[in-house]
Amino acid sequence: MKNLTGIKNRIVGSRYFSFGITLTLFVVLYAVGMMNYRGFLKPQVFCNLLIDNAALIIATIGITFVLLIGGIDISIGSVVALTCMTSAKLLAETGMPALLVILLVLVMGCVFGLIQGWLITEFNMQPFIVTLAGQFFARGMTAIISRDTIVIEDPLYTSLASARIYILPGGFISVGVIIALAALVIGTLVLKFTRFGRNIYALGGNETSAQLMGLPTKRTKISAYVVCGFCSALAGVVYSLIMLSGYPLHAVSMEMDAIASSVIGGTLMTGGVAFLPGTLLGVMIQGIIQTFITFQGTLSAWWTRIIIALLLCLFIVIQAIVSRSRQRLNSEH
């Protein structure tokens, strides 16, 4: 019997247990969808999940870096809006080449993250309050640039926005999805194989020990916020490809969706535990729920919020159980 609980603890405490649950949930939800709605059988429905959520996937990658070090960034949605607005304004009024605009807004995102990270680490400020200020600032700046919609009519943007890349027979994805998936792969590799990635895990696991080991904790922390700022800006570029406009109320509370996706995907809010492919599934699960509600037709959109909150709740409770099992596993050895 003792052996059995040992095995149970080992499975539950395993690094990929959370990922396993998310994957199972995704497959089950998709299977239920296929059984109930014929539309789910079309490959395009699956591709649409990716297309509609490309920006959210990138934002989730960014927030995962920050959550890993035990921080938080609630400025993401506003930075996305600011990026859309800045690119729209620059394209509409300066005639700058589109590529240069994209480069500029990406740099802007990095600088935004750098300032936030610097304030947090240098002055020991609370990440929540600093990024709250960041959120206010970016959202307000967006409105200062323009309070009305600015349409993007740049040929490069419009052609990228309408491009269809067929990956399945009868299923195509957009350029945004390619960018999102590339970001996901790069992010996973960076976390897994680079010194920076390992430092992030070490820092999130236990900051004091990381410091005692001589790891550059300050630099790593700031870098995590820079990565998040960059990802927000990149998500903004992808978002502007979908919306083809700048508007002060774009992507409101996207950061909360990103945090929810990340947590559903197995990220521990206390830091130190995350698996990027899991967070992709976290986003996809939210997408499936939305698709369900669209197909169902009679349910209103706000059911999505309630169901996502329930899922969030479920996964947080699972996390509590997982960390308890892991502690038991550690005490056995």
Binding site: I72, L119, E122, F123, N124, M125, Q126, F128, I129, V130, L132, A133, G134, Q135, F136, F137, R139, G140, M141, T142, A143, I144, R147, P248, M256, I259, A260, V263, M269, T270, S300, W302, W303, T304, R305, I306, I308, A309, L310, L312, C313, I316, V317, A320
Partner: protein
């Protein structure tokens, strides 16, 4: 010099200083800022207006102060405001002939009770399941507006029942808006609790070191639980006021981002966001200051969408002034200057 330092290091200095600065600025920039007129048995004027709007924030920030003092945070307050308004307006009903389906006190009481249940849920997650406060309240923040929608069946309910508007407006024959009275009663209640019981001390002990507090025999989880329930009740009362002001339930926009303003008020009042020592008086003045700033900026022609930029700068400034390291840098500068001068 010593005396000056003593004054500036007081926790009330920063919010009061900011408030005075704003008032002095307004005295010059906004003509008729301080005029209060007496019309039809009611007082009118910008100051009254500010106090009226600030009452909501004062109540919210008091709830938030206790939560933050335990080292937590409650980001679901805005959604709970929406729930409160939705419940109350649903119970009264949007009858066009101005009648109510349910007596007003009952509807208000039920709404506040529902919000207390929301607080119970948050408190349960944080104190029993030991989930981080930010994540735990994120759940209700996400679901709250959906729940409010569920109650109002996806519509904004407009209430034509006249007495409902008394909560956010003023009672017939009363010179001041009702909101100010409600806020004053809440303030007195909190002051009473703090002076006559040791609840404040307990909350502070939990915030400084919950482990130590537990070992000295405090029921830490019960205290944390109560703090979130109180925050829920505060949000509920604020929600009644908010929906009464527009005589409608607006699940999408009621109390949107209000929790952020409440957190800001608490921070401005000198309470550290990491918990521990807290200053209810500071939070109250902080709330009034924030509202004064908002009104001032509106008067200067800043639109509501652009307002956040200024708030952001204030947040960063407050946090910098609170940060130990920044203080050290400033002090070093001062010492160097003194040395140079001989």
């Amino acid at each position: 010099m010593e005396k000056l330092k003593k004054i500036t290091s007081n926790h009330l200095f920063l919010p009061l200083f900011a408030l005075c600065l704003l008032l002095v600025f307004n005295a010059f920039a906004t003509p008729g800022f301080f005029t209060i007129e007496f019309q039809n048995g009611q007082l009118f004027g910008r100051i009254i207006d500010i106090l009226n709007r600030a009452s909501i924030l004062v109540i919210l920030s008091m709830g938030m102060t206790f939560v933050i003092a335990t080292g937590g945070i409650d980001i679901s307050q805005g959604s709970v405001i929406a729930i409160s308004g939705a419940v109350c307006c649903y119970l009264i009903g949007g009858n066009g002939d101005g009648t109510a389906n349910m007596p007003l006190p009952v509807a208000c009481l039920v709404a506040v009770l529902v919000c207390a249940v929301c607080g119970v849920w948050n408190g349960f997650l944080v104190s029993k399941l030991k989930i981080q406060p930010m994540v735990a309240t994120l759940i209700l923040m996400t679901a709250g507006r959906g729940i409010a929608m569920l109650i109002t069946e996806g519509q904004n309910i407009t209430v034509y029942y006249k007495p409902f508007t008394y909560i956010g407006g003023s009672l017939p024959g009363s010179p001041l808006p009702t909101t100010i009275y409600i806020a004053a009663i809440m303030v007195l209640f909190v002051v009473f609790i703090q002076k006559k019981t040791s609840v404040g001390l307990f909350v502070q002990a939990v915030g400084i070191n919950s482990n130590a507090a537990r070992r000295t025999g405090l029921k830490v989880s019960a205290i944390i639980f109560m703090v979130y329930v109180f925050s829920g009740v505060c949000a509920g009362i604020a929600g009644l006021m908010e929906s009464s002001m527009i005589a409608a339930a607006d699940p999408n926009n009621a109390g949107l981002n209000m929790e952020m303003d409440a957190i800001l008020s608490v921070a401005l009042g000198g309470t550290l966001l990491s918990g521990g020592k807290f200053y209810v008086g500071g939070s109250i003045i902080g709330a009034i200051t924030i509202q004064t700033m908002t009104t001032t900026l509106y008067a200067l022609g800043v639109s509501s969408e652009q307002l956040p930029v200024y708030k952001a700068l204030v947040v960063i400034l407050i946090c910098l002034l609170q940060s130990e390291k920044f203080k050290n840098i400033l002090e070093k500068r001062a010492v160097e200057k003194a040395v140079k001068q001989g």
